[in-house]
């Protein structure tokens, strides 16, 4: 539905025939289009603004390779800058799941994909790393939430904590911790109920859970189709609970995934995984290049400039 960035820029640069270095004026004109492209990809406004400023400084005065157009050159610069932000500079390594049993806490808004992602990650840890995993649902609110996790556990061959009706989330967490230790599990994963970042009661509840188990990883599960609110959600969950990473779901859709850039830029927390479907193996590690290409609605231009 939206034009991708190279289409936008080709319009802008059609008028410019001269080759050579990108003038300040060229860059300014191009960056107006970049800003719009980012906003249409759901990058949050302040993040888009900062990003454009940063690219402006990098791009001005750069020489344009003979075989590409100025538009392609700008796209390449923007793409590389996006990858830079998305990747960050710390060496991520794998999830921190040493010291068994290692707790992993899953949090996020309603319907973002926490329960599904809990199952996917458990399966991945089991299949790829040979870990013994226990999953527990702390969702005492959503109808059949606990059944949902139990069904997934049975599907993927991962144990779930037996359901005890009427127990509070903190008590379920304690029981999971105990069961994980007694049962010799390497990892225990706590799936929590969806909650709004402004819901003080429910945010306090998950803080209490955190204090009981001291999670090694706290993963914020965010819908990849999220709009401008992504920044606030990530900031608030991080401020109140302290997140160690983000999982972006529904990246099998045709969304541009600008939320990834927003959350990365604002919280500095790494995006760990992307969800690519409803099936239990539809999860992959986060690839900054792929998501950068998506945000811009293109991919081939980058390869083209790289070859030139």
């Amino acid at each position: 539905m939206f034009e991708n960035l190279s289409e936008r820029l080709s319009g802008v640069f059609d008028r410019l025939t001269k080759q050579g270095a990108l003038s300040e004026e060229d860059v300014k004109t191009a960056l107006r289009e970049v800003r719009v492209a980012l906003l249409e990809a759901d990058v949050s406004l302040p993040v888009a603004r900062d990003f454009v400023k940063k690219v402006q400084d990098q791009a001005t005065g750069q020489s344009v390779t003979k075989s590409v157009t100025p538009g392609q050159q700008v796209v390449k610069i923007v793409h590389d800058a996006l990858v830079d932000v998305l990747r960050g500079d710390e060496d991520l390594g794998t999830l921190k799941i040493d010291n068994p049993p290692a707790p992993i806490l899953m949090v996020g808004l309603q319907g973002s994909g926490k329960t599904t992602t809990t199952g996917k990650l458990a399966k991945r840890l089991k299949d790829k790393e040979g870990k013994r995993v226990l999953m527990a649902s702390l969702d005492v609110y959503r109808p059949a939430a606990m059944d949902q996790l139990a069904v997934l556990g049975a599907q993927i061959g991962v144990d779930t904590l037996p359901i005890v009706a009427g127990q509070k989330p903190v008590d379920i967490a304690k029981r999971a911790k105990q069961q994980a230790a007694l049962g010799g599990y390497d990892v225990y994963m706590l799936d929590t109920a969806g909650r709004l970042q402004i819901d003080e009661v429910l945010m306090q509840e998950v803080e209490d859970v955190r204090d009981v188990v001291s999670p090694r990883e706290t993963l914020l599960v965010v819908d990849g189709l999220t709009g401008q609110v992504a920044v606030e959600v990530a900031e608030e969950f991080d401020a109140k609970i302290g997140i160690s990473g983000v999982v972006l779901t529904r990246m099998d859709g045709d969304g541009r995934g600008g939320a990834a850039l927003s959350m990365r830029a604002v919280t500095g927390k790494p995006i760990r995984f992307v969800g690519l479907g409803e099936k239990m193996d539809a999860i992959e590690t986060f690839e900054p290049e792929r998501v950068a290409g998506r945000i811009l609605g293109m991919g081939d231009i980058v390869a083209l400039v790289e070859k030139a």
Partner: protein, 290 residues
């Protein structure tokens, strides 16, 4: 935003100029309205007023009035027909709030004296049926189910038969979440509709697309494709109790003019409200805060 300081600052009058318009655009973009629509809304609002001195509150009131004007045309409750059973098909992407919305709708129609039946058409997701059964109990409405993994179209067919035999007023059909770019799943939806029409060629009488307020510009693709392939007749936007403003609804109203029937404002059974353009516009522009 930085447009208006609260308190004393907001009494100051400012000239409505390009700079101010840009700030207003950004306010709307930050509410997910999208660039094009934000430009159009601010331009309409500014028409004949450029250069005028206005207080921050006046500016927001004008902006909210412009948004409300656009939205008034699409604010329409779900139509109720005399036809029996009136078949309501509920569709949307994963996790948007379809099942919960069905629970809420069932409860409201029941309270209005209607004889309601629900069909648990999500035969795919883990415990989707159990989830809907709980909602059925809460609403006091029977839920027709089929085993996990069975064909949703054949469940829909059976549900049609049953609802017709029972003389139900309303049949609400839940469906599995599906992303609009998944051709196979969209075809599954078309099949459900074809099968329903075998029993009643006027059905489904309403096809509700449930949108999540936290969704950004992808909602435009969702509406476009669901409308094309599933004949969407109206929208419900959920999760407006959060901080997302759902500004994309304005872009949608502009582009598709589909009626907006209701909004979800929480997870409880009564948390479904009519769509109120003025309230929506006030929240979107921050007028309700100033």
């Amino acid at each position: 935003g930085r447009l208006v300081g609260r308190g004393s600052g907001s009494e100051q009058r400012r000239t409505l100029d390009d700079d101010m318009l840009e700030q207003l655009e950004e306010l709307l973009i930050a509410a997910d309205m999208g660039v094009d629509t934000a430009l159009r809304v601010t331009a309409n609002m500014a028409e004949g007023r450029l250069g005028k001195k206005l207080s921050a509150r006046e500016i927001k009131e004008l902006l909210a009035a412009e948004v409300a004007r656009v939205m008034e045309q699409v604010a329409k409750p779900m139509p109720i027909y005399a036809h029996r059973p009136q078949v309501v098909l509920v569709v949307g992407v994963n996790g948007s709030g379809k099942t919960t919305t069905i629970g809420k709708l069932a409860s409201q129609f029941k309270a209005a004296g209607k004889n309601v039946v629900i069909a648990a058409g999500d035969t795919f997701r883990a415990a989707a049926v159990e989830q809907l059964q709980v909602w059925g109990e809460r609403a006091g409405v029977p839920v027709l189910t089929a085993p996990e993994g069975s064909d949703p179209a054949s469940l829909a067919y059976d549900a049609m038969t049953q609802a017709q035999a029972d003389g139900a007023d309303l049949l609400l059909i839940d469906t599995a979440g599906r992303l609009q770019n998944r051709a196979d799943l969209m075809e599954e939806l078309s099949k459900i509709i074809r099968v329903i029409r075998k029993k009643d060629e006027t059905a489904p009488h309403n096809t509700l697309l449930v949108l999540d307020a936290t969704t950004g510009q992808n909602a435009l693709n969702q509406v476009e494709i669901f409308q094309k392939l599933a004949d969407v007749s109206g929208l419900v936007m959920t999760k407006l109790d959060g901080t997302a403003k759902g500004g994309v609804l304005v872009a949608l109203a502009d582009k598709f003019a589909l009626p907006i029937h209701a909004i979800g404002v929480g997870e409880q059974i009564d948390d479904l409200a009519p769509f109120d353009p003025e309230e929506f516009a006030a929240a979107l522009t921050g007028l309700d805060q100033s």
